[in-house]
C-alpha cells in the first residue's frame, strides 16, 4: 500500500513538473512547481525521511513559491500577447512525447536487466539524525552560515542599493 502511494505521488510529481514547464501562465506555472514540491515532500515522508520532508514542504513549496510569485508580479511577465503564444506552442509541443518516450525506455532498460537495487528503508531515529547533523556535518553548518551571509549581501546589492545608482 505504501508502495502504491509512493508511485502515485511520483507520477503526479512528474505531471506537475511537466505542467510547470508547459503552462502558459507564469502564475499557474509557479503554483504547479509548488505542487510538485509538495508531492516530493510526500514521497520523502513515505520513504521515511521525515525531517527532509518537513523542510521540503515548508521551505520549497512554501517559501520558494512565494519568492517566485512575487518575482512574477514584480516583473509583470504574465502577459498574453502574440509572442508569448508562439513561444508557448514551441515549448509545449514536444515535451510530453519526450517524457513518455524517455520514461518508457528507461523503465524498459531497468526491468529487462537484473539490477539489484532494493530500498531497505528504515526511518532514522531522531538521535541518529541529530548526531549526523550536529557532530558529523560541522562543515556543512558552517557552509550554511556562510551561504546565508552570501544571500544577505546579495539581497543588499541587488535590491537595497539599486536605486542609488
Amino acid at each position: 500500500m505504501q508502495q502504491f502511494f509512493i508511485v502515485l505521488c511520483l507520477v503526479l510529481m512528474v505531471v506537475a513538473g511537466g505542467a510547470a514547464v508547459m503552462l502558459r501562465s507564469m502564475l499557474k506555472s509557479t503554483i504547479s512547481l509548488g505542487v510538485a514540491s509538495a508531492l516530493l515532500a510526500a514521497v520523502l515522508f513515505l520513504l521515511g525521511a521525515f525531517w527532509a520532508a518537513i523542510f521540503e514542504l515548508s521551505v520549497c513549496s512554501g517559501l520558494i513559491t512565494v519568492v517566485f510569485v512575487s518575482a512574477v508580479s514584480l516583473t509583470n511577465s504574465d502577459r498574453k500577447d502574440e509572442e508569448h503564444v508562439k513561444e508557448h506552442r514551441a515549448r509545449v509541443a514536444a515535451l510530453p512525447a519526450i517524457l513518455i518516450f524517455a520514461g518508457a525506455s528507461l523503465l524498459f532498460i531497468l526491468f529487462s536487466h537484473d539490477f539489484n537495487i532494493v530500498i531497505s528503508s528504515t526511518p532514522a531515529s531522531f538521535a541518529a539524525f541529530k548526531e549526523a547533523l550536529w557532530s558529523l556535518r560541522q562543515s556543512d553548518i558552517l557552509g550554511q552560515i556562510i551561504a546565508i551571509l552570501a544571500g544577505t549581501f546579495a539581497v543588499i546589492v541587488l535590491f537595497k542599493e539599486r536605486d542609488n545608482i
Partner: protein, 487 residues
Amino acid sequence: MITFATISFLGLPLLAILLLNVVSKKTGGAISISVGYVVAIIQMIAAVVCMALLWMHGKDFIEFSLFWDMNATLGAAKLSVDLFSLVVLFCIGMVSLASLLTAKKTIGEKTLNYTNLLMVIMLGMNGIAVVTDLFSLYVFLEITGIASFVLIALLNDKRGLEGAFKYLVMSAIASALILGSFALIFTQTGSLVYGDVAKALADWRNAQYAPLLIVGFVMFIAGFSIKAGIAPFHGWLPDAYQSAPASVSVLLGGIVTKMAGVYALIRVLNSVFVAMPMINNTLLILGLISIVFGAVAACGQKDFKRILAYSSISQIGYIILGVASGSLLGFVGAMLHFFNHATFKTTLFVNSAAVEMQTGTTDIDQLGGLQARMPVTAVSSILAFLSMAGIPPLAGFWSKLLIIIAVWQSVSAVGGGIALAASIFTAAYFLILQRKVFFGPLEDHLTEVTEAKGTISLAAVLLSIVTVAFGVLFPVILNFLHLQGIL
C-alpha cells in the same frame, strides 16, 4: 597548529565580515579595503607557515575540525590541508590581494559590499581547499558561485547583470549535475568522505550499483566541465569575464573559476576516483579539445578581456591534461601550472583593468601604441604572456614542460604533440593582443593617457616579480621536491 589553520583560513574572513558590518556603514566602507589587505596577506603568510609546519613535522597532511572534536565514525566531515591545498590557499590570498589593489580605483562607492562579498568568496574557496567530503565540497562550491554571481552584478549595470545571469544558469545546472552524481555515488558508498568513497569505489566494476555509478561519473565530468569552463561547456565563461567589473574579473579570471572547477575536479580525481582510466582518458580528450579550441578562438577576439577569457579556457585544458595523464609528474605539473596560471592570468587581468581605467575601453581595435604611455603595464603583460606561452626561463615554461612530458610518457605522444603545437597559437594571440594594444603607432585619442598610478601598477609589478622569480628558481624548487620524496 590546528586552531591556527582554522582561524586563519576560515575564522579570519568571518571575523572581518563581522567587524565591517558591526561598525557604522560609513566607517565600514572607509576601512574595508584595508581590512581586506590584512586578511589576504595573513592568508598568504598562514599558507607559507603551514607549509613549513608540514615540512618540519614530515607529514603529508594535517587534519583539523571546526567547533568541537568529531569521533571518526562513518561520514564525519573533517577538514585537512596538504601541500596542494596550501599552494592553492596561497594563490587565493595572492589573487585576492591583487583584486583588492585594483578595486581601490575601480569599484567606486561600493567598497563595503565588494569587500563583504570578497570575504565570502574567500571563505568559499578556502572551504573548497580544505574540505574532505564531497557534499561539503558542493556546499562551498555553491557559496563561491553565489558570491561570484553577485560580484559580477555588483555595479548593477546591464552587462554585469547579463553576464551574472548566464553564469548563474550554467552554474546551477552544473551544480545539479554534480550533486546528482554525488547522490548516485552515495547509493553505493553510504558516506561521502573522500577516503570512504575511494575505498568503496576501489572495485567499482563489480560493485552492486555499478550502472548508477557510471551515470554518476558522466554527470560528474559534465558538471565540473561546466564549472571549469572546458570546451564545449565554456559558453558562459567569456561573457562572465567580460561583463564583470575590472577588479572582479581579476578575481574570477585569476582564481574563482579555477577553484570551483579545476581544483575541485583535481582534488576529487586525486583522492576519490583514483586509477580510473576511463575518467582520465575522457578528461584527457576534453582537455585537448579545450586547449586547441580556446587558443584558436582567442585569436579572433576583439576585446582584451575576452582574449584573456579564451586563453583561460586553453590554459585550463593544460591543467586538466596534466591531471588526466594519471602520473605523479603530471599532477605536480598541473599543481604548478595552477599556481603559474594564477600569477600570470591575474597580471593580465590587472593590466586589462589598468588599460580600461586609463583609456575607458577594452576594445583592442580602439587601442594602440600604449607601450610608450604605459610602460609598466606593457612590460608586465609581455612577461605574463611569455610565461603563458611557455618561453623559458619564465615560470610557465616549466609547468607546461612537466605536463607535456607526463602526457607524452604515460598516455600518448599524439596528445603531447597537440599540446605542444597549441603553444604556437598561444604565442599568436599574445602577439595579436600585444601588437594591437601596446605596440604600433599611438592612436590619436590616446595621447593624453598616462600610466595607471598607485596600487594597480604595484599589483602588476609584484605579480611580474613572482612570475620571473618563480621561473628562475624553479629548478631549485623541483629539486627540493625531489629530495623531499614528493616527486
